[in-house]
C-alpha cells in the first residue's frame, strides 16, 4: 500500500531552519519534561525508601498482603504495551501507517487493561477496609506501626502513576486519530516518537513501583 504522505514535504515552523531541527527541539522538550517526571516520582520513591527503612517489618507484612498476581500481570501488560508502541514508531518511520495505527491501538487497549486491573485491585483493598491515610477497619484490626504509611504511599504512588497512564492514553488516542486523518505520517513521525517516549517512561516508573509494592 503506497503512502501518499511520503511524497509531501513538511515545512518547518518559522523559527526553525529545518524539520530535523524542529524534531530535535520537540524531543529535547519532551525529555526535559520527562526529567521533571523522573524527579517527581524519584522524590516520592525516596520518601517511600525512608519510611521503609523506618518500618521494615510492617512494610514487609503489607507487601505480603498486597495483590501480587494482579500487580505482576499489570507489569507484563505494560512491558508488552511498550514493545507495541516502540514497534509502531518503527512502522511509521517506514511509512506503514495502517500497521503503525494497529500497534498504537494495541498499546491503547493494553493501557486500558492496566487501568481496569488497577481499579480491580483498589476495589479489593477497599473491600478489606484498606483506605488511604490509615482509614478503614483493616488498620483497627492490624495495629502495626507503618501499615498506614505503606498503604497511603501505595495509593498515592500508584494513583499518581495511573493518572500518568490516563494522560498517556489520551495522547496516544490523539495520535491514532491523527493517523486516521492522515495528519500523522512519516514526515512528522517525531510526534509519535514524543508520545511513545512518554509512554516508555510511564512503563519505567511502574518497573520500579512493582518490586517495591508487590515483590520484596
Amino acid at each position: 500500500m503506497t503512502d501518499a504522505a511520503a511524497n509531501e514535504v513538511l515545512e518547518p515552523a518559522e523559527h526553525f531552519e529545518s524539520i530535523e531541527q524542529q524534531a530535535h527541539a520537540a524531543r529535547l522538550g519532551m525529555w526535559v519534561f520527562l526529567a521533571s517526571e523522573i524527579l517527581l516520582f524519584g522524590a516520592v520513591l525516596a520518601l517511600f525508601a525512608s519510611y521503609q527503612a523506618h518500618y521494615a517489618d510492617a512494610f514487609r507484612q503489607a507487601v505480603h498482603h498486597n495483590t501480587k498476581l494482579l500487580g505482576s500481570v499489570n507489569t507484563g501488560v505494560l512491558l508488552t504495551s511498550s514493545t507495541a508502541v516502540a514497534c509502531s514508531v518503527h512502522m511509521l518511520r517506514q511509512g506503514r501507517i495502517r500497521l503503525a495505527a494497529a500497534l498504537v491501538g494495541m498499546t491503547l487497549v493494553l493501557g486500558l487493561v492496566f487501568l481496569a486491573i488497577k481499579l480491580t485491585e483498589y476495589a479489593k483493598h477497599f473491600r478489606e477496609g484498606i483506605y488511604p491515610g490509615g482509614v478503614g477497619t483493616f488498620f483497627q484490626e492490624h495495629g502495626a506501626r507503618g501499615l498506614p504509611e505503606f498503604w497511603t504511599l501505595y495509593f498515592g504512588m500508584t494513583g499518581l502513576h495511573a493518572l500518568h497512564v490516563t494522560v498517556g492514553l489520551i495522547v496516544l488516542g490523539v495520535m491514532l486519530i491523527q493517523m486516521a486523518r492522515r495528519k500523522l505520517s512519516r514526515v512528522n513521525v517525531y510526534r509519535l516518537e514524543l508520545a511513545a517516549i512518554y509512554w516508555h517512561l510511564v512503563d519505567v516508573i511502574w518497573i520500579f513501583l512493582w518490586p517495591l509494592f508487590y515483590l520484596a
Partner: protein, 108 residues
C-alpha cells in the same frame, strides 16, 4: 547519526523484558531475606536500561538530551543517597517525658 534499533531488535528487547519480568516474579518466591529487595531493584534497573536504550533510543539522541538525563539521574541519586544517610544515622528519638501535674516552668 548511528543506526536506530531495527524492528527485530525491538521485538527481542520486548522478549528479554518479559523474561526478566518472569525471573523477578519467580525470585520473589525464593527466600532471599534482606537481599530480596536489592535483587528485585537490580533487575528493575536492567529492565529500565533496556527500555531507555532500545525503546527510547537514548544512545542515538543528541548530547543535549543525554546531558539532561544525566543531570536528572545525578540529582536523584544525590537525593536518595542523602535521605538514606539521614535516616540511617539519626540518633534515637528520646522518649516523651511524663507531663507534670503542676504548671510547667519555662526554661528560657
Amino acid at each position: 547519526m548511528s543506526v536506530r534499533p531495527s524492528l527485530k531488535a525491538m521485538v527481542v528487547t520486548g522478549g528479554v523484558l518479559l523474561a526478566l519480568w518472569a525471573a523477578s516474579f519467580a525470585l520473589s518466591y525464593v527466600a532471599l531475606g534482606a537481599w530480596a529487595l536489592p535483587v528485585a531493584l537490580v533487575i528493575a534497573l536492567g529492565k529500565a536500561a533496556l527500555v531507555a536504550s532500545f525503546f527510547m533510543e537514548l544512545p542515538h539522541e543528541s548530547l543535549s538530551i543525554k546531558l539532561t538525563v544525566l543531570a536528572t539521574v545525578a540529582l536523584l541519586v544525590t537525593l536518595i543517597a542523602f535521605m538514606i544517610a539521614d535516616i540511617s544515622t539519626r540518633a534515637p528519638v528520646p522518649p516523651v517525658p511524663e507531663p507534670r501535674h503542676a504548671q510547667m516552668s519555662r526554661s528560657w
